[in-house]
């Protein structure tokens, strides 16, 4: 039951990625796309967590940890670019 639940969870989360990809393509504005990617990283973090538990392996959690930090760096950079037209 547990494993079925978790596998379903993974499938569910991939489904949750569809809107993200849709927004990345559709936009219509750049900020839409940026939040779509940002949301996608959130979904990926969730998947990593679940997967980590499914596999019983802490290693994937490290990836989740890194991703949860690093995606924010990217988003902030893009936002600054969108706002000011410069990065540094």
């Amino acid at each position: 039951m547990n494993s079925l639940l978790l596998n379903l969870a993974l499938l569910f989360m991939v489904f949750a990625m569809i809107p993200c990809v849709y927004r990345v393509i559709k936009g219509p504005t750049v900020p839409d796309r940026v939040i779509a990617v940002d949301a996608m990283t959130t979904v990926i973090v969730v998947m990593l967590g679940v997967y980590s538990f499914v596999q019983g392996s802490v290693f994937f959690m490290d990836v989740a940890l890194v991703l949860s930090i690093i995606s924010f760096v990217g988003t902030v950079t893009i936002s600054k670019y969108l706002d000011e037209g410069v990065v540094l």
Binding site: N7, L10, L11, M13, V14, F15, M17, I18, C20, V21, V24, I25, G27, V30, R33, V34, A36, V37, M40, T41, I44, M47, L48, Y51, S57, F59, F60, D62, V63, V66, L67, I70, S71, V73, G74, T77, I78, Y81, G85, V86, V87, L88
Partner: protein, 789 residues
């Protein structure tokens, strides 16, 4: 001293002193020319000491190892033919270098002049004594280069440059062709060594019977013809007259052009006695003889006359060497050899006279001269001796070899039978007629008639002894060899002819043989010659009309067209092949990839779809892959930079997720980090690159690009599904070792990390070097404009 060492010394003495000339000039000032002459004399004497050995014992060989790995020695083969040409080179060298002391102004760049002269002389001597084809080729090309340098001696004059270029292209290219011939000869005989072939009759027969015989002969003969200005390759010689006159006398009449003759003589034993040889060599010779004779007759520049005359005279020799049949391999050899000597003397003499005239009269155009015999009587006498010898008037040496030429022509015609019995002597006479005509024209144009009112300097007189004595000495030889032919015949012509025919030759050359067919032919020649000379204007008018109507008949026309347009054409072609658009280049690579993968498929008739296709996959992975493809489409389809980059970043994160599914946490970590960083760097860059340009893809381009992309995708797909069929049994992966030993030997649980820092840490060292390179490279990129501003 051992003859081998003597000849080696004779070859390298000029080379050594050529190197010393610039230093010597510091001490000797303008007397440096006498040093050069002394070197030439030394070489001459050294060669002379070997002559008795050769006359007595026959050819001498010797070798020291040079390139043993390819079977090449520094080998010398000293026979009569070699000594003959070497005598010409060194002997006339002495005369020319002495003469140059008077001819060359002291302000000229004398070291360079004498250096190249000596280098040329050494190369010439080396060439004729080379025992193997490669050594011969080396010295051969050296004569081309030195000749090029001497023709271009006045290197800021466009005419010099033109002449030098032409001579280099024709002779050196001919040399390359000849090299190919030599290499064919090597592949046939298995040796580069000429004496080895000459002394082995069976081997010579092998050559003659070989499939590659004809091509070998043609290639080698092209080299010879190019060097001796025969056939269509004559074009360089007239332009080579831009060289200082002593150079022309030395290289372009007496010696270098004899290199081709030498080669024909050298190859004579191997190739002669075949139809190909006869047709090629004698045929080329006869055509050249007549045509060049006619053109010499049409020239108005003294050196022009002499240049075309040289071509024509050389054609005599070539023709005679060509006179062979299966039964009589060597009808004209002796005559040809004698003519080499004679032509060397009278032509060099005439060139020196031309130099004197040009020096004194400040022009070489015979139309601007006339009646000079009063002012320069000694020169006149010398010129007359030279010209009459050339015209074939007894008792001068030119007469003797001309007689022999006619004799051998008759003999050859007889050997071939009708219609050649008549045809060949007639052609020979035609050659003689023009020779006679231009010889007379030369003398009368310069010395006879009336002195023109203007255009000539006031005071014209015989030159200083430095210039006169060498010419006079040559004139003396002309007379001497004519009156006492046994001196050259016994000492040099016979050994040479023996060397070529590979059997002892004994000649009986006399001034008076009685009334023979050749004598009658000679008389006919004189009569026709005078007739032609008197009809100059009509002939000239006819030729001008003809040439105007057929400009393409001229070889020079084609040469000029080729060389002038070479740059334009080269640039046109390179503009097409290298259009500057990177897309073309990328397409080329992509198409090559597809083609290279297709080749084995076609050749092996391979089944590109493997037996097992595995579609077993968890649904969430399949969905993820679908999303990745969709993201890929987004990257392609989104026109703006930002959307495309963001889509790329989305794809990157999904790749990271896929790595998770592929059980690669390290990879996933690296992937997401790198993805973020490269997105940042993308933004760093495009922050400075506004998107002004939006590509509108035309349908044709779209179709083409899609086809290429699909081709690449299919190629990769097919490669990949085949490659991932699993490791071929019974092989196993290196990874076994890593898994087994990662902890025990390298002390790490994370096998991937252990591989990258330990098992294959060296790769990582390279990888971090790449990172440093990127950093330093960016620094260079950013700072690359500082210099300009």
């Amino acid at each position: 001293m051992d003859p081998f060492n003597v000849i080696t010394l004779a070859i390298f003495l000029p080379f050594i002193f050529a190197g010393l000339i610039p230093a010597a000039e510091k001490i000797l000032k303008h007397y440096v020319g006498w040093l050069a002459a002394a070197v030439a004399l030394a070489s001459f004497l050294l060669i002379a000491t070997v002559l008795p050995h050769v006359i007595h014992d026959g050819p001498i060989s010797g070798a020291v190892p040079w390139l043993p790995s390819v079977g090449l020695d520094f080998g010398l083969y000293i026979d009569g033919l070699g000594i003959l040409i070497a005598f010409l080179a060194s002997g006339i060298g002495v005369i020319i270098m002495s003469y140059s002391n008077g001819y060359m102004s002291h302000k000229e760049d004398l070291p360079r002049y004498y250096m190249w002269l000596l280098l040329f002389m050494g190369s010439m001597v080396g060439m004729v004594f080379s025992a193997n084809t490669i050594l011969l080729f080396i010295f051969w090309e050296l004569t081309s280069v030195t000749s090029y340098m001497l023709i271009g001696y006045w290197r800021d004059k466009p005419e010099s440059i033109y002449g030098a270029t032409k001579s280099l292209i024709v002779t050196a290219a001919g040399g390359l062709v000849m090299l190919a011939g030599f290499l064919f000869l090597h592949s046939i005989t298995g040796t580069f060594d000429i004496p080895t072939i000459l002394q082995n009759e069976a081997l010579i027969q092998t050559v003659k019977d070989h499939d590659l015989f004809l091509i070998t002969l043609v290639l080698i003969f092209i080299g010879a013809a190019a060097k001796s200005a025969q056939g269509p390759f004559y074009i360089w010689l007239p332009n080579a007259m831009e060289a200082p006159t002593p150079v022309s006398a030395f290289l372009h009449s007496a010696t270098m052009v004899k290199a081709g003759i030498y080669l024909v003589g050298r190859m004579h034993p191997i190739f002669s006695g075949t139809d190909a040889w006869l047709i090629l060599v004698a045929g080329t010779g006869m055509i050249t003889m007549v045509m060049a004779g006619f053109m010499a007759f049409r020239q108005t520049d003294i050196k022009g006359i002499l240049a075309y005359s040289t071509i024509s005279q050389l054609a005599y020799i070539i023709t005679m060497y060509g006179y062979t049949t299966y039964q009589h391999p060597g009808i004209g050899v002796a005559a040809a050899t004698f003519h080499i000597v004679n032509h060397g003397t009278f032509k060099a003499c005439l060139f020196l006279v031309a130099g004197i005239i040009a020096h004194e009269a400040a022009t070489r155009d015979i139309r601007k001269m006339g009646g000079l015999w009063r002012e320069m009587p000694i020169t006149f006498i010398i010129a007359v001796i030279g010209a009459l010898s050339m015209a074939g008037i007894p008792p001068l040496n030119g007469f003797l070899s001309k007689e022999m030429f006619y004799e051998s022509s008759v003999e050859m015609g007889a050997a071939l039978g009708s219609p050649y019995t008549i045809l060949i002597p007639v052609i020979a006479i035609m050659g003689g007629v023009f020779t006679f005509a231009y010889s007379i024209k030369l003398i009368s144009g310069i010395f006879l008639g009336k002195r023109p009112k203007d255009g000539l300097p006031k005071h014209i007189h015989d030159p200083c002894a430095t210039m006169l004595v060498p010419a006079a000495f040559l004139a003396f030889l002309v007379v001497l060899f004519g009156v006492v032919p046994s001196i050259p015949v016994h000492n040099i012509v016979e050994p040479t002819a023996s060397g070529i025919l590979l059997e002892p030759v004994h000649l009986h050359v006399k001034l008076w043989h009685g009334v023979t067919t050749p004598l009658i032919m000679t008389i006919v020649t004189f009569i026709l010659g005078i007739l032609v000379y008197s009809k100059y204007d009509a002939l000239a008018a006819w030729q001008d009309r003809f040439n105007a109507r057929h400009p393409r008949i001229s070889v020079n026309y084609h040469y000029d067209a080729a060389v002038d347009n070479a740059k334009t054409w080269g640039h046109k072609i390179s503009s097409v092949t290298q259009p500057g658009t990177i897309k073309t280049y990328i397409n080329a690579v992509l198409i090559l990839i597809v083609v290279l993968v297709c080749i084995p498929v076609i050749l092996l008739g391979a089944n590109i779809i493997p037996q097992t296709l595995n579609f077993d996959i968890a649904p969430y992975e399949a969905l993820l892959m679908l999303l990745m493809v969709v993201a890929g489409i987004a990257i392609v389809a989104l026109p703006g930079y930002l959307p495309a980059i963001i889509a790329l970043s989305a794809l990157g994160y999904m790749v990271g997720l896929l790595f998770i599914y592929l059980k690669a946490p390290d990879l996933a970590l690296t992937q997401v980090l790198v993805e973020t960083l490269s997105t940042i760097i993308f933004f760093l860059a495009i922050a400075k690159i506004p998107q002004k340009f939006k590509e509108k893809i035309p349908t044709t381009t779209l179709v083409r690009d899609v086809i290429i992309s699909v081709a690449i995708a299919s190629t990769v797909f097919i490669m990949l599904i085949n490659a991932t069929q699993g490791i071929v049994s019974p092989f196993e992966s290196l990874s076994h070792y890593f898994i087994e030993n990662s902890l025990t030997l390298a002390g790490g649980h994370n096998i991937v990390n252990v591989i990258i820092v330990d098992f294959r840490g060296y790769d990582t060292l390279g990888e971090i070097s790449v990172l440093c390179l990127a950093a330093l490279g960016v620094y260079n990129l950013i700072h690359s404009r500082s210099e300009e501003k």
